[in-house]
Symmetry: D2
Subunit: 404 residues, 4 copies
């Protein structure tokens, strides 16, 4: 949280408005019922995302820094707390879907109420106000929840045998190209964030890492390639799997990615945010767990990259065209073999926001890049996303690596 600074390319107020209104746009296609349901403990209702991201500003900024602060509704302090023990009690996570009250309307009123007060606070502030970094953090936090809102809605709708669509909009067909191995010499390189732009506490300090020579694929593994892995018996060959992954696969009776559906007569359909569709073989395979990604890599005679390899390669001039278009990083988060751990010299921030990252640094694996669901402007080469090895409902795919 040190190194949090004002955005360069827009005033904070404009940025606040842009991020907050984007969240409203994301829920526009959804009914109140869609927004209220929770499909599994790992996911949250859209309404809860709407409330929680607002709670962040009310709790960490307004309650501490607004004159004559009064909460919109005192009970929300508990209801919309995610995991901040320092703030007090939390509503149990697996029961978020039972909160039919407050209704969606009231949560939208809560957003408007907090937005009005935040706008007033920001408008009056001078640039050195001590809470400015918290506003920036709150907006980054909201952008994270924008992606989660989409992954969670996709999972919810996939549980409905009517296969409803979130939106009729279809993603454009990707330009399929042949993957190539890109070689890197490694040596003593540096990773981690530096400079004055925003970064989470887990991205710093920038530090040296020694890499042996390696190669990285220029493309993510495609649906077509992954389908060949399935056809080759990949889900039935224990020698390809981590022991824990093999047992997980067996106990959940898995034989394909979570949103794939065998099509009568052969081939695959896929559940998408546009409903059930024929599987596009040219697109990157997504919604894969770490276990599946690791098994695929072993089958392909390769491995997953480390996060240092990934960051070094991506910052070595790869893909300049994509950088500029803002669509670099190719549609899906990319599993690395690096467990989520503190960088050398990592320090936890004081106060409740210190619970933001550090306490999750065990039994999680780092994903790098970004996805089709990541909000524009929220991507960063040093960004460290992380999920348990079992997670399948994220937009997560595979970029292969290998030793030379």
């Amino acid at each position: 949280m040190n190194a949090l600074t004002r955005q360069i390319d827009s005033t904070l107020l404009d940025h606040y408005d842009a991020v907050r209104s984007h969240t409203r746009e994301l829920v526009a296609p959804l009914s109140a019922e869609d927004c209220s349901a929770q499909s599994m403990p790992d996911a949250s209702p859209a309404k809860w995302h709407l409330g929680h991201t607002t709670w962040f500003f009310e709790t960490f900024v307004l309650a501490a820094h607004e004159q004559n602060f009064a909460p919109f509704r005192p009970e929300f302090r508990v209801l919309f707390n995610s995991y901040y023990h320092a703030i007090g009690e939390r509503h149990p996570r697996p029961q978020r879907g039972l909160l039919t009250r407050p209704g969606l309307d009231e949560v939208m009123q809560y957003r408007t109420h907090v937005d009005n007060r935040m706008r007033a606070l920001i408008a009056q502030a001078d640039q050195a106000a001590p809470w400015m970094p918290l506003v920036v953090l709150g907006l980054q936090h909201e952008q994270q929840h924008q992606e989660l809102l989409l992954t969670d809605i996709k999972h919810l709708l996939s549980c409905n045998p009517l296969w409803p669509a979130y939106s009729d909009q279809r993603a454009p067909a990707p330009t399929s190209t042949t993957p190539e191995w890109m070689a890197f010499e490694g040596g003593l390189i540096e990773v981690g964030h530096q400079g004055t732009g925003f970064a989470f506490d887990n991205e710093i300090p920038r530090h040296k890492v020694y890499l042996t020579p390696f190669e990285l694929s220029s493309q993510l593994v495609s649906n077509g390639e992954y389908a060949r892995f399935i056809e080759a018996g990949g889900y039935e060959d224990s020698s390809l799997w981590l022991a824990e992954g093999w047992d997980w696969r067996a106990s959940h009776h898995l034989s394909h990615p979570i949103y794939w559906q065998p099509r009568p007569g052969g081939g695959w359909d896929e559940f998408t945010l546009s409903g059930r569709q024929a599987l596009n073989l040219a697109r990157p395979a997504i919604h894969l767990s770490y276990y599946e990604s690791d098994a695929y890599a072993r089958w392909a005679g390769a491995r997953l990259p480390t996060e240092a390899e990934w960051e070094h390669a991506m910052s070595s001039g790869i893909h300049p065209a994509k950088w500029e278009s803002g669509q670099w990083l190719e549609h899906a988060w990319q599993w690395t073999q690096s467990s989520y751990a503190p960088y050398p010299g990592f320090r936890i921030a004081e106060g409740a926001v210190g619970e933001y990252n550090g306490k999750f640094m065990v039994n999680q694996y780092v994903l790098r890049g970004s996805s089709v669901a990541t909000p524009v402007g929220h991507t960063r080469l040093t960004y460290r996303n992380f999920f348990p090895a079992t997670a399948r409902w994220q937009f997560s795919g595979i970029r292969l690596a290998r030793h030379v």
Copy 2:
């Protein structure tokens, strides 16, 4: 299902309209979100009750007997099937709360659509139409779901820390009277339904039972009496409990009825359909499991009645005033010590409706009477309600019995 006959006191069409519109009235105070959530696998969303009761008429009556039948939406055949294997697949019960589509509006359109067709069918029929008994059964079925809709909504709202009220309407204060032991000589008596009025298949045949002399309390156990049981350490004394109940109590960390809440400073509050209220000590204690009821009875030096004792006593002229008012049977279903079992000569009906009752006749206990949530006109002295010994979310209470 034999002995199903036309209602006497109203035309079938009037009765159909009355029952169906009462269901709509029950959900009037609820939002779409309230109607869509499911608080536990044993409970169903209100929207599902609305759809399932409609599905019953569409599937068992219209699909079989309407000319040019076409389903409102074919997927509903699976979506709103509860447990009828003969009808085919069912949506998994614990996932009913994930069906955010169809929305409440569409389910209401479904109701209107089916009602229009049912009204047309009934209006044209002559009295001997073979599906008439199925319509009567469907209305009885809907009345059962009317009570479940209330118990399920109460449970859902109780999971919300905001303690929302279903309705502002408060039940009138009961006239508290001192319980008396009413003596019965027993002997060879008869129980079970007879005559031409409607009864479920589990209420027949009427048959002889031999009863030894017994006594029954004139009143249900009150909240005040049950509070004394708690104060006397009833939840901590293993000698009062069935072994299975004692373990259940321990594993769920129970020390009071499900909707009771210790009030700061002493005494109890209770979650009600009108929100959180001070516990009314004069009212019958409700929402008790069989285990709790049995433990209370042992503590009180009594026992639960058998269902034959209960029915014999109630049909022996007890409470004539209450009979006439339609408010007899005192506000709460009454646990009996009788496991739910077939009457001698019980026969399962042919076809899908044969799954209505018989297949649940194991590990359930019979409750007799009715409750504040039972629709007017749905009470019957021979009625056999049944739930597992763990059930707490029903309006279930205690009437004590003892041997002479």
Copy 3:
């Protein structure tokens, strides 16, 4: 427990010696390791049975009535307590298999030690000693554990892929006869124990029951008949099963009785106390759960008897030859459709032995008769055995009934 009286056909001391030494004979074929393992929470290690039956005499008789009583080893009071809360703490049931100390040798010394003291106590006592009924109860209790010891060992050995035999002794081939329906008129009959012989508290008081006319099969269902049920798709037809049984079957992936094994090339083997054997089609089918028994009965167009029907039929002069030989009741406990409930006027005994029966009277079903594993002399027409509907490891079979 009232009506406990001295045995008629032997002195108490002889009876004590006979029962106690029979337990030793039962474990003679077993190693110390065999005696120490526990295959599931419902079963106990043989060593625990040896200790617990001894604990009964030490705790209820010697500790209360021996002069200068000192326990063999004080820790055994907790270690070998089964479920008597009044005696204090118990070792957790699922962890009985972890008690490698005391070893089998020490437990045998414990038996010898207690036997010596019991013999001395009995020898000195006059016939009216108040603890005499407790000795008789203790011996009946030990006989119950003799049967459990065999069912538990059979289950343990069945978990070993080497299919070890408990004993080489093979049961003689039964004389197969064609089952006949035996008709009974019913009416007002009596069931329950009376007289001066021993009976458990759950068998009294004797009381009147009204029975409608019924028929009972002269034979238990045979392995051959049950195999035809399987071949006819009985395990795949939901209409034959109680709803709870159907779900239980599915979640445990069951398609045949617990000890049946499909033989390569067709037909069935069966795990027996003599190891794996070809299934004898003429013998009664055993080790069936209530769910399986009920489904079979429905498939056969019949039903399970009530316990009153069973007792009335058996006491109406059936099978006099078998009565005399002591081998009546045909090899297997017989499920009834009667849930385990108190007889009218049932009273729980004072003190710890009051926990013997009453507290299990919920969610259990009564079995009548006896089995090949029941000790000689422990059978009684009024005997009420009971197990949950899921129990498969007991010697339990099916006698069909039907309405006329």
Copy 4:
């Protein structure tokens, strides 16, 4: 598995005899019952360890390289397979404690039988026999199981309320010294095994790592220090714990290390291999999970070291006296914050032994050093032990690190 070579300081035959007979010595204090029981799925019966280590030689060496090979008993190929899918079926791990047959005697005969044949094979072989590395691997494997045998027996005996002792031998009192921070400059260093001595495949290749400056404690955290953490409320302060550790602690109701027992009147006892003893405050705290170790470190204002830091520090001349005595590394495995992952260039061996290490490289944390239970001669600076973050039954402790 490359780089497996003949031991230098002894002939292979002597080494074989020494390792194999040490295993027998370890079980000498145990009864057949002690050797047969399994206290939890993570642990194995001592008898299973005895059989499995023998199975390793029979399966990987004799079956492949002995002329006229015939198995001691064919069923043992399945029974004593741990996790090698390439070998075929395995007996389910959680059911190892149900294998009362073969008895301990027969397993000891199995050992003798295989030892005789192995001795003959080794005696006749020339030094370049291709299976020699497998014998060395088998002995290293057996030494690993020697430690597991002790940790598993300790856990089993701890489940017995009689607190039995494995042995009367007490460990000598340690010389308590004040911990100091030892500083290391870091930089580009090397870790991993090199040279001709034995190492597991997970210890190679040796490779470069860049370390920032750090400090390491000269001592392990003592029982006294850990007790102060408890007294300071360490188990009740969520800010000290990883989120996953906090939930794990809560769901298991933990408030102290697994073998600590509050002493009536204050202070702590500890269950040891010599039974229950007063806690020795000067000794290293052991049997700690990763979660507990990490929480303690945070409380102490420090952190756990990485495995590279640990290896670099230990190989930088630390503790030369202890090195020579063979008792260096201070009594307990030491958690590192490094998840168990492949070294750069790691290659999985061909064939079944390729399953030895690589497939466990997920959701495990590396421990370094050795423990009081590690056999003499089995310690190595580059050794990588690994367990899940929840593991408490290993001899695992804490060495603190911190950034400068």
